[in-house]
Amino acid sequence: MDALNSLLDGFAVALSLTNIALMFAGVILGVIIGVLPGLGGANGVAILLPLTFSMAQTPGGQTSAIILLSCIYWGALFGGAITSILFNIPGEPWSVATTFDGYPLAQQGRAGAALTAAFTSSFIGAAVGVIVITFLSPIVAQFALEFGPPEFFSVYLLTFCAFIGMSKQAPFKTLVSMMLGFALAAVGSDTVTGTLRMTFGTATLLTGFDFLVAVIGLFGIGEILLTLEEGLEFRGASAKINLKVVIQTWKELPKYWLTSLRSAAIGCFMGIVPGGATPASFMAYGVARRFSKDGDKFGEGVVEGVVAPETAAHAAGTSALLPMLTLGVPGSPTAAVLLGGLLIWGLEPGPLLFVEQKEFVWGLIASMYLGNIAGLIVVLTCVPLFAAILRIPFSVIAPIIIVICAIGAYTVHNATFDIYMMVVFGVTGYLFKKLDYPLAPLVLAIVLGDRAEASFRQAMLMSQGDMRILFENGLVGSITTLALALLIWPMASTLWSVTKKLAAKDA
């Protein structure tokens, strides 16, 4: 049991006083971020990333920094549930499905039960995700040590094809959004030859677009603009959680073990294959409704309808870190931001991380166990406090959030130009969201663009331009084939339905 030994070492790292303090600080910050409109896991972590630059330079500081940031992420995952249940406003996209039954429960005066169920299921989902990471990631990393450029390119290809195949949005919109990300990533000097691309003679574009700025704009400013359409006021149910409600709900929860298990499995799968937490939560909700004996009561306020999406969202959110750590391929925008953090601190994510930075990796994995326990304690005890934040009027909180976003965008490179870009990305995010263009592929493409391109070009150099290198051996061939299958399937089905519709019109 190599993994268990490494995990114990990890606990030794994570259990220092500073790190535990950082966990609680991170979780509390994360919940606040998750509760506030316009701030979420991805852009919250992006804004706070520059604050860790100095922290990461001290010995052992990289581990502390990742613990802080990942705990912000856990906190944000928990926080999304609070707004969904009490205010019917999903603080995060993955908590949309939680509103379906969570808000009706709150209206019936069972907000405490809904919140307890949500938090506990989140915790269970995350726990399953971490267990998967603990035992699967060393194996994947070991396996990936043998990877060369063609293998890495095929993994990138799989990531992007999975996005097109798994997303609920129109495949061509996903494609546009993703390719725009690649194009943005290409701006600046070419990583292989140093030639300038698409800078059009301006000095500001030399460094290219940073995905952190894109994340802050797309998810932060875009989200605020969307929230505004609903008007300036929030009305919400009041929240009280006491020990009695918690224990009562906990007694009820074991009944739904099968739903939890199923949702956790869906979540882990969707997290590792980059489908993400949002589709996972919807899928888990749908599956739970179909298999539950109270299926027809879903939507009127059943606890099971809160359990399913929350378990899946957290399982997905957590396991999205697996490909990020082992392959350097993030499964979600927030994982992408964390990956960006690793790169800035001077760590190279990928299989070598497990060999060269054992302490860091296992410290992080151990902190996931502890961070989620910290999260559960914090949210169960402090819900009224967090709900109170949402009662701060929007006309006060919105400008403050925009200022925070501006500061966050600036501190990425100390460039004022990035603040302008943030607004441009904000408007883009607003338009794209309203028209169902998915944002996650855009962000991931900006992050991975340069590396996907580099591995593609290296592979092409190895084979002198022969595409067959992507099918050269069983490993790379099967990944590429899987990727193409995922890509072609939805395109074929769209074309099929379009032609059928046209044929029906003609007839």
Binding site: L51, F172, F182, A183, I224, G231, V423, F432
Partner: protein, 167 residues
């Protein structure tokens, strides 16, 4: 807010779809153009610099065309993209925010932030002047402490800060 109830469509969904598809097509065209300029072909030593972005641009253009045609053909989704009342609210935040961002370029972050938060609270929130001033100045003092003192991250500063001797 009475404007919220103005539910006439400021922009139809179809127009918005067409406009965005046209816009992404234009972006794709720019990518193709620039990649071709720096060389998008296969040289003796492998793919040229523009090779990868060139095909990215081609895919953007093709996919944009599909989205454009799709929006033209499927007329069912002809609802409102944004209602007049909603658009007013969105612009009432977007316009001041853009002005704020431009001001940051000239005056540093603190002074525009104070003005922006105060303006927002006063104009949209109808708060008393002293409340707006208190919140906006307080927030910025807090940011100053967190960033400049605690985490040692310098933020942009302008004339006012140098007069106060803060930079």
């Amino acid at each position: 807010m009475s404007e919220v109830h103005d539910q006439r469509a400021a922009l139809s969904n179809k127009t918005a779809e067409l406009a965005v598809a046209g816009f992404t097509f234009a972006l794709g065209a720019i990518v193709i153009f620039d990649s071709w300029r720096i060389g998008a072909r296969w040289a003796a030593d492998g793919p040229q610099t523009g090779y990868f972005p060139f095909y990215v641009g081609v895919i953007i253009c093709i996919a944009s065309l599909v989205n454009f045609v799709h929006a033209l053909l499927i007329s069912k989704k002809n609802g409102a993209f944004v209602e007049v009342g909603q658009l007013k609210l969105v612009l009432s935040v977007l316009v001041p925010s853009s002005v704020y961002v431009v001001l940051v370029g000239f005056l540093g972050i603190y002074v525009p932030s104070i003005i922006y938060i105060a303006f927002f609270m006063r104009w949209l929130g109808k708060y008393a002047w002293w409340k707006a001033a208190f919140v906006s100045v307080g927030t910025n003092v807090f940011f100053y402490c967190v960033f400049e003192i605690w985490f040692l991250v310098p933020l942009p500063k302008g004339v006012v800060e140098s007069l106060l001797g803060l930079d």
